[in-house]
Amino acid sequence: MEAVSKKYSRKDTGWRLFLKTIIARAYPRIIGQQREVSWLVFDVVMPMLAVIAYVLVYRALEAPEEYIGFVVMGGAMTAFWMNILWSMSSQLYWEKEQGNLALYIMAPNSMMAILLGMALGGMLATAMRAIAVTLLGSFMFGVTYEVTSYLQLFSVFMLAMIALYGMGMMMASAFLLFGREAWHMANLAQEPIFLASGFYFPIKSLPFWVAAGASIIPLTLGMDAMRQLIFSSGFQFGFMTVRLEIILLAVMSVVFVVTAKYLLAYIEKIAVREGRVTESRR
């Protein structure tokens, strides 16, 4: 009788539930992913192959050494974009394929908290891979760095990450409606973005309006600002001033995260109404 009347678990609600959901969803990405060492190897090796190829192209062209550093940095940042595409945007699609999405929606926690947890975990786990690519690339090709302002560098990086993962949360909502095309869409958003965002060359080299259009992707401005801040001659390759890029990234961070919240609620409603939450169109 006592056992029946006794509370068998503590039921969290409100902010406590929200925070616990974030931590719970981030956990497998921060801790779980590190347990699979082979993942780490692949996540570092794949971007490194591109880095090596592009560095050797620059070497064949006898390009100035700064460009080698640009490629190494761009290669490291690809890890974040790939994480956004395959582990943020497509994540709800994968969950749907495996039958977990309906459970997510049925559970008494917020979907926004799940997305935030995914973002937080993905950001931290990917940062480790990006650091590994940077260290390896710098060691292999003798890249040297000269940071002009650590504070600005930290601000740019953090704001770029918040805006980028906010964008990833927005895209995750859109991918909720996709079926088989989700895989292809994520696949399509690789090389064109590497091109438009200037992962392997300064964005300033593109026509102004192309570069301005590509700036909607936070990594474009983030990389441009970071290149200016960590390479001695970086300022001459800058598309905008670092100060302006910081302001734009701050605006994007707020806009993307807030939009993601409303978009998620709206698209979740559509997906439930049209029966796409459990649908699996292979």
Binding site: L49, A60, Y67
Partner: protein, 284 residues
């Protein structure tokens, strides 16, 4: 195995592969999807080259990079097209076990599944080269192209790549996790070692022998030579070899890798059957 069974396996697999590749969207979006990716990859190299050369596209290095990159599309498309069929059928559609008990010939079925990507890859290669000729002054003169050498090299190379794809498919059969990365990693490594976008001399001397052992090195060199002749021969790496010598090396290496691929596939296939890996799904 009867010829009719092999042909039927190949034909149906090619059709199935085409439907899987193309029917997820309308033809227009599919065409855009097939073209945008490779063109973007080429555009990255063009911009890199343009920045450093100050927009001078008349050096021999530009067609070397551009054509090498364009034809390299086949490597990713054909090789991973064949090996990815294992991942798709086993993990995604969960039909590989049914394929194995159907009256078809599995290696030929897998080769057939690569046809769809060969077709989309061919379109991408064609459009990339045409864009280079029209907008970037790639020195391609139709009357000067050695068509015989071009088609012999192309066909030999595609067969060689398909057989390498079979090798990867065999390895994929025995691997539970990361099978999706195998094709990508191999294609990425070959991109570096084959001198696709830079002459092999740029590589450190101790790595170059790997490049000399890869059939793709000679394949890309012959394709360049057949299209732009002397421009491609401007680089010292393979300058001492005549076209026929390169063709002989390519043929020899293709036969060697072909035999190894078939042997590896058979071994992996037998092991996968023995260990019950044909219907294993990991949801990984």
């Amino acid at each position: 195995m009867q010829t009719t069974t092999s042909w039927r396996s190949f034909r149906m697999a090619a059709w199935l592969g085409w439907l899987i590749e193309s029917n997820w969207t309308d033809p227009f979006l599919f065409a855009v999807y097939s073209i945008v990716k490779p063109l973007s990859g080429a555009a990255i190299l063009v911009i890199m080259y343009g920045i450093i050369s100050g927009g001078n596209f008349n050096t021999p290095l530009f067609p070397y990079i551009y054509l090498g990159n364009a034809f390299y599309i086949y490597v990713g498309a054909v090789m991973t097209g064949v090996s990815w069929a294992v991942v798709d059928d086993r993990e995604h559609y969960k039909t590989l076990k049914y394929m194995y008990i159907a009256p078809i010939y599995i290696p030929v079925y897998l080769l057939g599944r690569g046809v769809a990507r060969f077709i989309t890859g061919s379109i991408a290669v064609f459009i990339t080269i045409i864009a280079g000729v029209l907008f970037l002054k790639v020195p391609l003169h139709f009357e000067e192209i050695n068509w015989g050498l071009f088609f012999v090299t192309l066909i030999l190379g595609v067969v060689m790549l398909a057989l390498l794809g079979l090798l990867l498919a065999g390895i994929t059969l025995t691997v539970a996790r990361h099978e999706g990365f195998i094709g990508e990693a191999t294609a990425g490594a070959l991109y570096i070692f084959s001198g696709a976008v830079f002459p092999l001399d740029v590589l450190p001397a101790w790595i170059r022998p790997i490049g000399y052992f890869m059939p793709t090195t000679y394949w890309l060199e012959l394709l360049r030579r057949s299209l732009v002749g002397n421009v491609a021969q401007a680089f010292p790496t393979l300058a001492n070899f005549s076209n026929m010598e390169l063709l002989g090396i390519l043929l020899g290496l293709s036969i060697f890798f072909g035999v190894v691929s078939i042997w590896v596939f058979r071994w992996c296939d037998a092991r996968a059957r023995e260990l019950g890996l044909i219907d294993r799904t990991t949801n990984y």
